[in-house]
Amino acid sequence: MTRTAVVICPGRGTYNKPELGYLHRNHANRMDLFHSFDAIRAEHGQDAITDLDGAQRYSVGRYSRGDVASALIYAASLADAQALAGDIEVVAVTGNSMGWYSALAVAGALSAEAGFRVVNTMGTLMQTHLIGGQVVYPFVGADWRNDPTRKAAILAEVARINELPDHVLALSIDLGGMLVLAGNDAGLSAFEATNPVVQDRFPLRLQNHAAFHTYLQASVAAEGQAALERAEFAQPDRPLIDGRGKIWWPGATDARALKEYTLGHQVTEPYDFTRAVQTAARKFAADLFIVTGPGTTLSGAVAQSLVLANWHGMADKAAFQSRQDDQPLLVAMGREDQRALAID
């Protein structure tokens, strides 16, 4: 009997020190795929991802760069998706932020190489321009219970700061129980100054991240569209859920519209990952939510998104953990203990 699954591809910030060597450890049999990516990077004089992944030492400065992290994360996600067990039927694919590019390839709307060109180009452009930054702040407590009032208050504070002279601050990603905010330094600093530290680490500034999913990236979007003019988007093989919760159905997808969304709206407008996960749940009701590697951090946002939707009646973290212990709903391929649930 097959297990139905939604595949979820992570975004930036998921290839960290523990992930160094991820490709070599988990996908030694897919080196051809990675070398094809290396060849594309070589065209631009960029380091090979096989070298990067195979390096002895990890440094934040080097690996958190957009032109490095994007390529490594994409390669790991796509390889993980290809490694899924034979009894898993992928009924839909989605991703978070940069993970959208991975999702496009996993769903078949882009070939592996075309997808790599897209992600490498966009990651490089983001790094080259590095316009603004991102900060993460939760609106739920440690129990994950929905707190729409708190969320509204935070967003009202964001709007207030954005109105100040020379301040830019906006919602970047709805990420489960967290809000990723993006803006210029004045906007981000103002938010950090006026909001209390919670859970010992938030507000958390994300190193080497730009103000993704805001209008500040309009010039990057324009450059991306020019650079990727020849990128060939196709009908996905599997339903693909974007950062608005829209489903791009096999056979019913306007490839040009998909490309326009990917290089336009998706770059400059807020990314609603929560909605994407909830749409995956409610429109596909799959047995499993599989978060591909690298890393494990997106799993929390997936679980929180499901709790916020009361999926399977789960209203808080304890309910999720109980369900997870009883019958795993979420599989993070970046975790060794869970990875085994998803591969042969």
Binding site: V91, R244, G245, K246, W249, A252, D254, K283, F284, A285
Partner: protein, 730 residues
């Protein structure tokens, strides 16, 4: 075997065998990708029909009227914009699904299954009812009475044009939008449908913009009664002012092409069109209906052989858009997916308490821009010489007219409509000069059809206007009452407060016109309005009260989105005197425009404690006439004017009657069904030890001529009843 299962197995077998019903090749216009998308919507609609039946069998679903056979409506949706307001037939799941594909982020299968399960998570009705509907998709939730949504569709279409000329603060619909309404061939015969189609044509031939697409889904049968062959075409193709289009609803390519043409016509010409879509009905009317009990097996099988999904697979194959194998996979995947979602949706919570069910009877308030009241210059220009007369006592009709004028000056979104309200100024002159002051756009002379008047108001309410429709006489309300009871009042309830149609319905009514008009101009029954949940009934008895209550009624509609019935006692319109000729005792000066009487605030006259007379309207006037006789009898009396008949102003009545030894109810409506019944019950429950009696109208119609008031309470009746109740006063 269950016909739904037969249709399902036919599909699987025939697609696998490439055994398709014959039909013309696909027409140009619909692209391959879009065609596949429409097929997906059709398949999901079918899968949902099947799931609804399974859920019902398992006790987890509560609605089985399906859309099978009508899946061509997906192509109609595709030819429209998601912002074109759509009042849908109950067989239009495919329309809603296809429209959801036009708006990113929809979770349509989940939403519809929650609706089948009547879960409180249902984003449309909140678990109150299975409805098609969605705020995000501009589909007001609709449940039948048959064709009752057509008058408001006409109204909404009118409102689209009106908003171009006079943009309301709370406009909901884009200015280049059109309205659409759909219904079955059987419903097309309903007087409500016929009236609406007639109104659309009547409006159109006068070149008033009315961008409305009627879509008649003709499956040839209404439950068990067949529609005569060619009936819809014969009766609809030559309607004046309405262009007729026809398409084969089994063919998504043709349906899309024809609907596109019709929609373009409606949008560009701002005129109504009638799209006649031929369909089949599969599985019978609803889950419990077995079509083979009234149709021959061959007739049933003939429809099943024409399954629109089979036609779609054939057409997609011929168009090179999708192979039958892939189509079959979409079908089986979608059925499996729908079953998985259904299992989850069925586990979601339901409403349990009356409080939860009732939570959306009253819509939420909406913020409105503050105003400083009507501008002095504008008032001077509008009122002219009337301004000088405002300090002098005036009869009620004039004060209502002035209050309307001030309100229309202050709020440009107010629009009046009714028979003779414009050029004539109303049969009693209440709306005199309003059309001169505000134009024919805001004071609309309608045709003679109360359903259309109320439908116009509902439709305009949908687009941010504050309509003040007038029903010329209370007796004329009854043929159109469902527009309030079944439509206007229920909209917040069925939409969980997301859609509203605020309005103030002015109705001239009640008895006591001296010898004029007989029953139909003196009707004295409010029973039809009293029990409608959420509806407010106001009934002033003096000019000053009328002005202040009208302002509150408009506030309730404009800010709190309420449906208010403002009942104006005709006999008091011209009333000047109270006790004797020329005493001017029933006239009042015009209260300044900032004065209102709040909902639930009753009028208390006097402080006597021997007896409280609780009354309203003409009863209030008559009670004042009786007062000298009661005083002469030594009865210290207070008179309480309810003013607000519904909801019952319970707290205010208790407070107003505090310490009174007797309560006399004076109600000019009938012994049966009148407000007096509610008041008797109320006081018995709340003031069990206080003796109570009532003076009411007899259970009779009203006569013309000298006996006009014979069945109605009189001053003498009140005096006699008071003395009887109190033991004769002193």
């Amino acid at each position: 075997m269950d016909r739904a299962q037969i249709v399902h197995e036919n599909f699987l077998t025939r697609v696998a065998n490439r055994d398709f019903p014959l039909g013309p090749a696909p027409q140009p216009g619909l692209g391959k990708v879009d065609a596949v998308s429409l097929f997906r919507s059709q398949v999901l609609s079918r899968a949902l029909d099947r799931a609804s039946r399974t859920m019902q069998k398992e006790g987890k679903g509560f609605y089985t009227i399906g859309s099978s056979g009508h899946e061509g409506m997906a192509a109609v949706a595709h030819a429209l914009r998601p912002t074109d307001i759509a009042f849908l037939h109950y067989r239009d799941a495919a329309f809603q699904i296809a429209r959801s594909e036009q708006v990113p982020g929809q979770q349509i299968a989940w939403d519809m299954l929650l609706s089948f399960a009547c879960s409180s998570d249902d984003p449309t009705s909140g678990g109150r009812h299975k409805v098609l509907g969605s705020k995000a998709l501009t589909i007001p939730p609709q449940t039948s009475t048959i064709a009752s949504h057509l008058p408001k569709a006409v109204g909404a279409a009118y409102a689209l044009g009106a908003a171009r000329r006079n943009d309301p603060e709370h406009r909901e619909l884009p200015k280049d939008g059109i309205a659409m309404c759909s219904f079955g061939d059987a419903s097309a015969n309903h007087s409500t449908a016929q009236g609406s189609i007639n109104t659309a044509g009547w409006t159109s031939v006068q070149s008033t913009p009315l961008p409305l697409l009627f879509v008649c889904e003709d499956n040839g049968i209404g439950i068990s009664v067949k529609t005569p062959n060619g009936w819809i075409q014969a009766s609809m193709q030559h309607r004046p002012g309405i262009k007729y289009f026809q398409a084969n609803g089994l063919d998504i390519f043709e349906t899309y092409a024809v609907t596109k043409e019709a929609a373009d016509y409606v949008r560009s010409r701002r005129k109504p069109a009638f799209l006649h879509l031929t369909t089949v009905r599969l599985y019978g009317h609803a889950g419990a209906d077995v079509p083979t009990t009234y149709l021959s097996k061959s007739e049933v099988e003939a429809d099943e052989a024409n399954d629109p999904l089979l036609h779609s697979v054939r057409l997609l194959d011929q168009a090179g858009a999708l192979s039958p194998e892939k189509a079959l996979k979409i079908y089986t995947d979608t059925c499996a997916r729908t079953d998985r979602i259904a299992a989850e949706a069925a586990s979601r919570p339901h409403l349990t308490t009356a409080r939860e069910v009732m939570a959306s009877l009253i819509p939420p308030s909406r913020p409105c821009k503050p105003t400083n009241g009507p501008d002095a210059k504008a008032r001077a220009a509008a009122f002219g010489g009337d301004l000088r007369a405002m300090d002098d006592p005036q009869p009620m009709s004039r004060l209502i007219n002035w209050a309307l004028t001030d309100l229309m000056l202050e709020y440009s979104e107010i629009v009046c409509m009714g028979e003779d309200v414009g050029r004539k100024g109303g049969v009693y002159g209440v709306t005199q000069k309003l059309q001169q002051r505000f134009g024919a756009d805001r004071v609309i002379d309608t045709l003679l059809d109360e359903q259309s008047i109320l439908g116009l108001a509902i439709g305009m309410g949908h687009n941010g206007f504050v309509p003040i429709p007038e029903i010329q006489f209370l007796a004329y309300l009854h043929n159109a009452e469902d527009q309030i009871r079944g439509e206007a009042a229920t909209l917040p309830f069925f939409s969980n407060g997301q859609f509203t149609n605020p309005m103030v319905v002015r109705i001239a009514g009640l008895g006591y016109q001296k010898g004029f008009g007989g029953h139909f101009h003196n009707d004295n029954s409010l029973a039809v309005l009293r029990d409608i949940p959420g509806v407010i009934i106001a009934c002033p008895s003096s000019g000053a009260d009328a002005a202040r209550m009208l302002r509150e009624s408009v506030r309730l509609a404009r800010e709190e989105q309420r449906v208010v019935v403002f009942l104006e006692p005709i006999a008091l319109y011209p009333m000047r005197d109270l006790h004797a000729a020329q005493d001017g005792g029933w006239m009042t000066p015009y209260p300044s425009p900032d004065q209102r009487i709040a909902l639930g605030e009753v009028g208390v006259h006097g402080d006597g404690t021997d007896m409280a007379i609780v009354t309203y309207g003409n009863g209030h006037y008559l009670s004042h006439q009786a007062l000298p006789d009661l005083q002469a009898a030594g009865l210290k009396t207070r008179i309480i004017d309810m003013r607000w008949l519904a909801p019952l102003p319970a707290d205010a009545l208790l407070s107003a009657t505090e310490g009174c030894k007797h309560v006399l109810i004076v109600d000019e409506c009938r012994r049966t069904g009148s407000q007096s019944e509610g008041l008797m019950t109320f006081f018995c429950e709340e003031r069990a030890r206080v003796p109570i009696a009532r003076v009411v109208a007899e259970d009779s119609f009203i006569a013309t001529g000298p006996a006009y008031a014979a069945p109605l309470p009189s001053k003498e009746d009140i005096v006699a009843a008071a003395l009887n109740l109190t033991g004769g006063g002193k």
